[in-house]
Amino acid sequence: MRIRRHPILSFKREKEVNFTFNGKPIKAFEGETIAAALHAEGIKVLSESKRNHRPRGFFCAIGNCASCLMKVDGIPNVKTCITRVRDGMVVISQHGRGDPGDIL
């Protein structure tokens, strides 16, 4: 959910950006990161652990912990918490380590 009214802050949400998450169209705003835009839609599971396939969401939001890795425009292991959304971006949940074989 996006904050509509805040006592101190105002959020610039000028230009709409459209991307897809696992094929589903998502509306976001320019300047938002992929992880933030997905969160606004209530999508909290971004990734999964490699061995036990436990769900992973984001933890640090500053690119430190690698718990938000997803496949973006065909490239695996993208830190979605520090990568901004762009029009037409294709974002997919990543399974596995992102080996060359996983990309196909």
């Binding site: 996006r2 909290k44 769900p55 969401g57 933890f59 640090c60 939001a61 500053i62 490239i75 901004r84």
Partner: protein, 370 residues
């Protein structure tokens, strides 16, 4: 990566554009040096950007200004300097023997070489062991702040805050401001760690602060659906029969910060363990230079403190780095003296006790080392 990329040289590379890095770049730039300031975020300001409260403290010029306004003001000053380049969404990944720094920017690996380097990478949040601590919905306090204060997205409807230090208290206040219900703030220690003003502020909003409690388990399959908290005894062991189930859709950890110094380890800067400064910190002298010549540190990367000291340390690193490179810093001796005395004042009194103890240990270890 395709092909060899060229190594781009400059006088000073500042890594991290938080308050420390911004001031280092500003001061180095003012002396005429060619400066590259990089940050992995899409914006400058580091932690400051997320601070919506007015800064505490009475001695320094920015008291009463909100964190994000401070960041904008310094950035504007830097943008007036033609010899300083700011590169955002640029992550420093590696520092090599030959002094080359690799930076990931827009999917490309760039190589830079600076005659001097200021590492101002800030801090990372500590984690806490408990069952299901890896569930989506368990966030660091910084992540919660980023989400709600930078992007305007609510992290939860109802949240449990773990840790009643200043960060836990301030972020709880900000959560309520943004419209999130804070179910409780729990704190393992018998006392609240943060300032009383902050604690009173959240209490007035009706948020209970429970000392002597810890989190035992997060509940849920895909995402956090609740949490079990329990009392702990004076040896920090859980007390049986004291479990309480709390319905929340997120858990926020505010259990401390540690310096972020991977690049310093790579550069073989000697590191020492000083709990008062947040854990492993780099050795450095009063002028913020590490034992590895021309590598400087500033801000939380040098030891966990706060924004004003980060800015002062950044200034110090900035003027020292450029004067070592032969640039003349106007009125250097006075400037340096003023910064050092400002730092001393800032660290005086009971609030600075921990920092003073940590820095004293750092000095002892440094003298033994050099």
């Amino acid at each position: 990566m395709e092909g060899e990329t060229q190594v781009i040289s400059c006088d000073v590379i500042v890594i991290g554009a938080g308050p420390a890095g911004l001031m280092a770049a500003l001061r180095a730039g003012e002396a005429g040096a060619g400066v590259l300031l990089i940050d992995r975020e899409p914006f400058t300001g580091g932690q400051l950007v997320k601070q919506t409260h007015r800064f505490f403290g009475s001695k320094h010029q920015y008291a009463g200004t909100r964190g994000f306004d401070i960041a904008v003001r310094i950035t504007e000053k830097i943008e007036c300097l033609k010899n300083v380049k700011i590169l955002l969404e640029a992550t420093a990944l590696g520092y090599y023997e030959d002094g080359v720094l690799t930076v990931l920017h827009e999917g490309r690996m760039l190589k830079f070489k600076g005659k001097a380097i200021v590492v101002a990478t800030g801090a990372h949040e500590r984690f806490l062991p408990f069952e299901n601590n890896d569930l989506p919905g368990v966030y660091g306090a910084g992540a919660v702040q980023t989400l709600m204060n930078v992007y305007g997205v609510l992290p939860a409807k109802r949240i449990l805050m773990v840790g009643a230090g200043n960060i836990g208290l301030i972020v709880s206040y900000q959560l309520v401001q943004a419209g999130v219900e804070v179910a409780a703030i729990i704190e393992a220690a018998p006392r609240i760690g943060g300032y009383l003003v902050h604690a009173s502020k959240v209490r007035r909003l009706g948020v209970p602060i429970m000392t002597g409690y810890t989190i035992k388990r997060a509940l849920g399959k895909e995402c956090v659906r609740g949490a079990i908290i329990c009392k702990i005894d004076e040896n920090w062991n859980p007390v049986e029969g004291t479990e309480i189930k709390i319905e929340v859709d997120a858990v926020c950890l505010a259990v401390g910060l540690s310096s972020l110094c991977e690049l310093l380890w790579q550069a073989e800067v000697p590191m020492v363990y000083i709990p008062e400064l947040g854990g492993h910190v780099p050795l450095r002298n009063e002028d913020m230079e590490t034992p590895v010549e021309r590598i400087y540190v500033a801000g939380d990367a040098a030891g966990i403190e706060e924004a004003t000291s980060a800015m002062l340390e950044g200034e110090l690193a900035g003027i020292n780095a450029v004067s070592k490179l032969g640039y003349s810093v106007e009125d250097y001796a006075n400037k340096r003296g003023k910064i050092l005395s400002d730092l001393k004042n800032l660290r005086s009194g009971p609030v600075g006790e921990k920092i003073r103890a940590g820095l004293a240990r750092l000095r002892t270890l440094r003298n033994g080392n050099l």
